[in-house]
């Protein structure tokens, strides 16, 4: 049995809004083993980012963690003191952000920001030659002209370069877990491909555990061992990457795969009717039932449990 690194158990998280407290994450379970890369897939508003923010405890002020556990190396992150959390963020978990423009400070040069990251995340950082280390990191993320980037402000760099700087920051010190939260949504396809290939190579080289979050199934396919499909704040299907594409079971996963336009043509499927749930008053039972073409009475009353459909393939659906 592979050793667990991160285990999320029955996590419920919501946000305080003027209409009341929402229930976004709803009994979310997720597990990452050592040296394993998982993909978390879901459409906008399904709770992907909330989950990732909970892991690093960087949720906004109006978030409410209602119940659940987030065990990292056997310790519950939700019970950690601020001091322990700072150590966790500096030494254990690193995050590649969704929007590199927003996560780099526009007022400081790249060199200053890199120096801060190195200073606080490396051990014995007093003796470091920050410039040398930074250039080394920039080379490792294939930034062309690292000297220029080193002495630039973020606005002087292109989107792809900014994202490479962010990746370099996340690699600044040895970490246990790398979280990439939709690292390429704001980039062009050709840049997206380059950035993803870079992340893929880093993962292969460094034996990281990693979570890749994405809206599109095709994007993460090449890099992950296992895929978690999330809908309405809960995991609805877990399977090895190949399995998900060959034999999707949950109606939502099926709909998602069919809706993705193919290069081979063949027109469009009918998509999935309806919209993502309203988290103030989410649907009862299975949260997917209002959009599900196969739903029955059971689906409306009780939340389906995760069941093993075949080896290493789990589905939460009453119909299976």
């Amino acid at each position: 049995m592979a050793e667990g690194l991160l285990e999320i158990k029955d996590l419920d998280v919501g946000y305080k809004t003027y209409r009341g407290v929402t229930s976004v994450l709803y009994n979310l379970n997720l597990k990452v083993n050592r040296n394993e890369t998982i993909g978390v897939i879901g459409e906008s508003g399904c709770g992907k980012t909330t989950t990732m923010k909970t892991i690093n405890q960087i949720l906004p002020d109006n978030a409410v963690i209602k119940s659940g556990e987030v065990n990292f190396k056997g310790k519950d992150i939700l019970n950690m003191t601020e001091k322990e959390l700072v150590k966790l963020r500096r030494r254990n978990v690193s995050m590649i952000p969704q929007d590199p423009t927003a996560s780099l400070n526009p007022l400081f040069k790249v060199k200053t920001q890199m120096k801060d990251v190195l200073k606080y995340s490396r051990q014995n950082s007093e003796d470091l030659d920050f410039k040398e280390e930074t250039i080394k990191l920039f080379n490792s993320v294939a930034l062309s002209d690292p000297e220029r980037v080193y002495d630039s402000y973020p606005f002087q760099l292109s989107g792809g370069m900014r994202q490479r700087v962010c990746i370099a920051m996340s690699l600044a010190a040895p970490k246990d877990l790398l979280i990439a939260d939709e690292p390429t949504t704001n980039l062009d396809v050709t840049i997206q491909d380059q950035v993803l290939r870079l992340i893929g190579e880093i993962l292969e080289e460094m034996n990281f555990s990693a979570i890749l979050v994405s809206q599109a199934l095709g994007l993460v396919k090449k890099f992950v061992d296992k895929i978690y499909v999330v809908y309405g704040g809960t995991v609805i299907e877990i399977a090895d990457t190949e399995k998900i594409f060959e034999n999707p079971i949950h109606p939502y996963t099926k709909g998602l795969i069919e809706s993705t336009p193919k290069l081979t043509g063949g027109g469009f499927s009918s998509g999935i009717a309806g919209q993502t749930p309203d988290y103030i008053d989410p649907p009862s039972g299975c949260r997917f039932h209002p959009r599900c073409p196969h739903h029955s009475e059971d689906c409306k009353t009780e939340k389906p449990k995760m069941r093993e459909f075949e080896k290493n393939h789990y589905v939460a659906c009453w119909r299976q």
Binding site: N139, Q194, E205, N207, E258, P261, L263, T264, S270
Partner: protein
């Protein structure tokens, strides 16, 4: 042979900025036939949205000719005849930003009908809007009196489409109409668009960066890079036997989901980023990112030439399908030299 609906000749659009001139469109020539979906694909900054806007008259062209059913429309929208304006419409990328939040769906969709005097009085307008909402799969009883804020993203875009087809146009510009939508909703909107095109015999200029979408809607596809066309071909030719290196790079970067698609993908990896349109590279503007570039690519700009029937390519190295002069092995060698130096960092786990 289908007739030409729109003819564009040597179109240029430059924007003068403080820092210099941006050549958003730099000499493109193309036609859109009746009942045709003409696709325009490219990265951001390639000039594809500007092309749509110039056709609609939102920006007047700097140089060149545009004609619509043989009427000259190389002017901004305010100078065009009302009858022509009625015949052309546009759906924008951001469904939220293009709908007036203070108006009801009835007012939004009914506005073009009133402007073009196509309805007599409110009652008749409501009747027309009722039918229009039905055609875009929105239940009129539920949606007619709602405002944009009460609608989901997909519903907003459906309203924008209903507005665009209200005057029964023969030409619609669709500028990334689904890029703000989730895939499951995107499929539904795309189906509506395809059905409408069929039913009302419209022509579309479909602009997107998503090649998968393009494959499933366009009859003919043009690929644009820094204001110029690099390759124009029928959709199946474009996707099955692409010739321009940039087309191959773009296809090679597309994230696929099936094995059949994997086979269609050229094994050519993207490198570098799109240069600034203010300071264009010399010669072929793609040479900075092209793995096959030669001496002449740095010096002269290739023209768009017909290498096969209805298949146009602008590349010095492509003179015909059997005569593709580049050496794959040599490129692979170069790729290796280009590989990332990951050993540079020491990692402790």
């Amino acid at each position: 042979m289908a007739e030409n609906l729109i003819e564009v000749k040597n179109l240029k659009k430059y924007f003068d900025m403080e820092a210099g001139t941006v050549k958003a469109i730099d000499d493109i020539t193309f036609t859109i036939k009746e009942n045709e979906v003409f696709g325009l694909v490219g990265e951001s900054g390639s000039g594809k949205s500007t092309t749509g806007k110039v056709l609609m008259g939102i920006h007047p062209p700097t140089e060149g000719e545009i004609s619509f059913r043989e009427h000259d429309i190389s002017i901004s929208s305010s100078g065009r005849a009302k009858a022509i304006k009625r015949d052309m419409n546009m759906v924008f990328q951001d469904p939220g930003g293009s709908l007036n939040p203070t108006k009801t769906v009835l007012d939004i969709v009914g506005l073009p009908l009133r402007i073009h005097d196509m309805v007599d009085g409110k009652k008749e307008m409501a009747k027309e809007v009722y039918q229009l909402l039905n055609t875009v799969d929105l239940d009129p009883e539920r949606f007619m009196y709602r405002r944009p804020n009460d609608l989901g993203q997909g519903e907003k875009q459906a309203v924008a489409i209903a507005r665009a087809i209200a005057t029964d146009p023969s030409f619609v510009v669709l500028d990334e109409p689904t890029s703000a939508l989730d895939v499951s909703i995107q499929a539904k909107i795309m189906n509506i668009l395809i059905d409408l095109q069929d039913e009302y015999n419209m022509s579309y200029l479909f602009i997107t960066h998503d090649l998968g979408l393009m494959r499933n809607i366009a009859d003919r596809v043009a690929i644009m890079y820094l204001g110029r066309f690099f390759e124009v071909a029928d959709s199946h030719v474009f996707f099955e036997t692409p010739l321009h290196p940039y087309t191959k790079v773009l296809l090679g970067s597309f994230p696929t989901t099936t094995k059949e698609e994997e086979k269609l993908k050229p094994d050519l990896k993207a490198r570098g980023e799109i240069p600034s349109a203010m300071d264009l590279p010399s010669g072929c503007r793609f040479h900075t990112r092209c793995p096959f570039k030669e001496e002449k690519c740095l010096e002269t700009e290739p023209e768009l030439v017909e290498v096969q029937e209805d298949h146009f390519v602008a590349c010095h190295l492509v003179n015909g399908v059997d005569d593709v002069e580049y050496d794959v092995e040599e490129v692979e060698q170069e790729e290796k030299e280009f590989e990332y130096d990951i050993e540079g960092i020491e990692m402790k786990t």
